[in-house]
């Protein structure tokens, strides 16, 4: 029998993979995708818990998380493009003009 814990564990694994990706990848877009993985794992948690708890709040939350993801995607990608226009790069190591 698949319990809620299975789902939670799966989402935890995905969450950590997402973190790992954010911490290691240099390509801004890939990092962005890794964040999406994290958000998705949260979504999975929400839905699993929502079903487990037995109310809809979690699922509504997922709905909004998706909205947010979309909004962030739009703005984030726009920012990446703007940066690319200036520096011809999407490598996050290239934005370290501001430091110290």
């Amino acid at each position: 029998m698949i319990s809620v814990h299975h789902y939670l564990l799966l989402s935890a694994i995905l969450f950590c993979i997402g973190i790992f990706g954010v911490l290691t990848r240099k390509n801004a877009i890939v990092i962005f995708m890794c964040i999406e993985v994290m958000l998705n794992s949260v979504n999975l948690t929400f839905i699993a818990l929502s079903r487990h708890v037995g109310n809809m709040d979690g699922q509504i939350f997922v709905f909004f998380v998706m909205t947010v993801a979309a909004a962030e995607a739009a703005v984030g990608l726009a920012l990446i493009i703007a940066f690319f226009k200036n520096k011809e790069s999407v490598d996050v190591d290239d934005f370290n003009m501001l430091k110290w």
Binding site: I19, V22, L23, T24, I31, V92, D93, F95, N96, M97, L98, K99, W100
Partner: protein
């Protein structure tokens, strides 16, 4: 009845202020000098009036309070004056001699720059000295005590352009301050000890009345008196604080006469006399005083033997004579000490003024001949007795007086001291021996001085030798008056053994009698002993004079031989036993080194080092931490995850 007492110090103060403020505008030296002299003379008149009133009065102690000075809780200090025989004698001496010396200065200081300044200072000094002797409590006395120090500072440094004058002035003040330190400490301890027994006072009368509250010979009274004695040492140039006095001769000669011979330097003696009851209660202190006094008398006399500067000889002689006074105080011969103080004031003032007259004359001559020789060096003098007869006579009279030749004032006072030091319950024959030796040396160097100056060949530069005048009247009148006093001044205190009534002793009895009586201080011995001693002292004086005569008149080449033979001893004596150098080595230089170390080493390196170090470390940490902010997104993200792991980890495992 004695309510005009305050006028005595007030007149000179007024003179000082007026001369100080407007003197610069007054062109006439006569007006300035005359005014200053007149004011001191007024004081003298008032002093005389009070003195005679006191003579006729049955009550011998009068305290006059002007107004309250400090009042804080149980501490009540008044501006108050005390008139008793002791202060009466002192005010007479101070104002009398003061008037004469003021008068003398009018002529002597003629043409000096800052003439008004000089008289302002002199008046101020008279004021301070009168405060010292009249003060009814230790604090008013201390005002005078420090005030005379201040004036001494000002007057020694009168020639402001002279480096040595400045040094000497500073030295005088600082050494005096060391004494003041002792004085203050003693005062505080006394105040607190008496206070803890219920008597919070600085008043002399009250101190004397309540002295029985202290334990006789106890620690407290010993400490207190020793502290006071330290103060007295500073002011009166006793070992170990005598070094300033010879240097003080940098001041104008009237200053040396007034301050450094007649009045200020005797303040220590006066103070001991004032507090005699306390000293009487502390035999060990008395012994210390006697030893120090005798040692000083002896020691300073040795130095006096070899000096060539006329004023320096006199200065060491002063130190030596002061030693006698302390010896007197130390052996309980209080009235003898004061007596010697008075006679010494007469003849030493006369001597100084005489030397001043000589210097004045030589200076005049050199000036006339455009020479720059030292007018104070005795080796440039000689044979002046013809040129300056009045000066010579008064000088000679005073020299005889100081040498202790009978019938002159010095004889009576000195002899009484020597007798007491031998025969007093607190005396010792060794003290007497030292005193007698010093007396011999005194006679020697004083006559050496007279011979070198007034007798023999005139060694002054040929160009100047014919231009040495006798001094003007303003100078010679004081000389004559003082010379006279040096002769007759002793007769008020002719001891009983010589058929006198010793009026002086009796007059002072209300002040000293009690302590002498209470603590059984008296000189005892047979008349034979007393006569013998007297004879011995006269004999040694005569021997001294004779030796001087042999060496400086008979065989003028003898001193040089002597010097070569005892080169080492002479060098030591000539250089004043290297005391100044010793003090430099022991105190002055270490202080400077410590000061520099504290400043450069402790303040700058340690304290500021810590302060700046903290700042530096803080900035350093900042600079280090700054590099965590690397600009790389990954690092930031890592930091965040670390934070999350820590927080969540704390919750999960903590």
């Amino acid at each position: 009845m004695y309510s005009n007492l305050w006028l005595i110090p007030f007149f000179p103060l007024l003179g000082s202020i007026i001369n100080g403020l407007v003197g610069k505008r007054i062109k006439s030296e006569k007006v300035i000098g005359g005014f200053a002299t007149l004011l001191v003379f007024f004081s003298f008149l008032v002093a005389c009036q009070n003195f005679f009133r006191l003579l006729g009065d049955n009550v011998k102690t009068h305290e006059i309070v002007i107004f309250s000075w400090m009042s804080v809780g149980k501490l009540q200090v008044d501006w108050g004056f005390l008139l008793d025989p002791l202060s009466a004698v002192m005010i007479l001496v101070v104002t009398g001699v003061g008037t004469l010396i003021h008068l003398y200065s009018i002529g002597y200081m003629h043409g000096e720059e800052g003439y008004y300044r000089f008289f302002s200072y002199m008046n101020l000094f008279a004021f301070a000295m009168l405060m010292l002797v009249l003060g009814s409590n230790a604090l008013v006395m201390f005002i005078g005590w420090e005030g005379v120090g201040l004036c001494s500072y000002l007057l020694i440094g009168y020639y402001i352009e002279k480096q040595s004058a400045g040094d000497a002035a500073k030295k005088a003040f600082v050494v005096n301050r060391i004494g003041d330190f002792g004085f203050l400490c003693g005062l505080f301890v006394l105040y607190w000890t008496l206070g803890s027994k219920g008597v919070w006072t600085f008043n002399f009368v009250e101190i004397a009345e309540n002295a029985h509250l202290l334990e006789t010979g106890g620690l407290v009274v010993t400490v207190v008196t020793l502290c006071f004695f330290l103060g007295a040492c500073g002011k009166s140039a006793q070992i170990p604080l005598f070094t300033w006095l010879p240097d003080a001769m940098e001041g104008p000669t009237p200053v040396s006469a007034l301050i450094h011979a007649a009045t200020m330097v005797t303040a220590g003696v006066y103070m001991i006399g004032r507090m005699n009851i306390l000293f009487a209660m502390a035999p060990s202190t008395m012994l210390t005083i006697a030893i120090v006094g005798a040692a000083t008398a002896f020691f300073a006399a040795t130095i006096g033997l070899a000096q060539n500067d006329i004023k320096r000889v006199l200065a060491y002689s002063t130190v030596s004579q002061l030693g006698y006074m302390f010896l007197a105080m130390g052996v309980g011969a209080f009235s003898a000490g004061i007596f010697h103080l008075m006679t010494h004031a007469f003849f030493k003032a006369c001597l100084f003024l005489g030397s001043g007259s000589v210097i004045h004359g030589l200076h005049h001559a050199y000036h006339h001949a455009h020479l720059h020789d030292d007018p104070q060096d005795m080796r440039n003098m000689g044979g002046l007795r013809k040129k300056m007869p009045i000066t010579f006579i008064t000088f000679l009279v005073s020299t005889i007086a100081i040498s202790g030749i009978p019938l002159f004032s010095g004889f009576f006072s000195k002899d009484e001291i020597l007798w007491w030091s031998f025969g007093s319950t607190r005396g010792h024959w060794l003290l007497w021996l030292l005193g007698a030796l010093a007396a011999a040396m005194t006679a020697f160097y004083m006559f050496r001085l007279v011979f070198m100056t007034f007798f023999g060949e005139q060694k002054t530069d040929a160009r100047a030798k014919d231009h040495i005048p006798e001094s003007p009247l303003t100078i010679t009148i004081p000389l004559m008056v003082l010379g006279l006093l040096a002769v007759i001044g002793g007769y008020i205190g002719v001891p009983a053994i010589l058929g006198g009534a010793n009026h002086f002793h009796h007059f002072l009895d209300p002040v000293f009698g009690k302590s002498l009586h209470l603590f059984h201080i008296e000189a005892h011995g047979t008349h034979a002993t007393e006569y013998t001693l007297m004879a011995v002292s006269v004999a040694v004086a005569v021997i001294g004079i004779f030796v001087a005569w042999v060496m400086y008149i008979k065989n003028p080449e003898l001193p040089a031989k002597f010097v070569t033979k005892f080169a080492g001893a002479h060098k030591i004596v000539f250089n004043k036993w290297y005391i100044d150098e010793l003090y430099d080595f022991l105190f002055v230089n270490p202080c400077k080194k410590i000061g520099t170390f504290f400043w450069r080493g402790f303040d700058v390196k340690v304290v500021d080092g810590i302060v700046n170090g903290v700042a530096w470390v803080t900035r350093g940490i900042g600079s280090g931490l700054k590099y965590t902010q690397s600009g790389y997104l990954h690092n930031y993200a890592v930091a965040m995850v670390v934070g999350v792991v820590m927080i969540v980890g704390f919750y999960v495992f903590g």
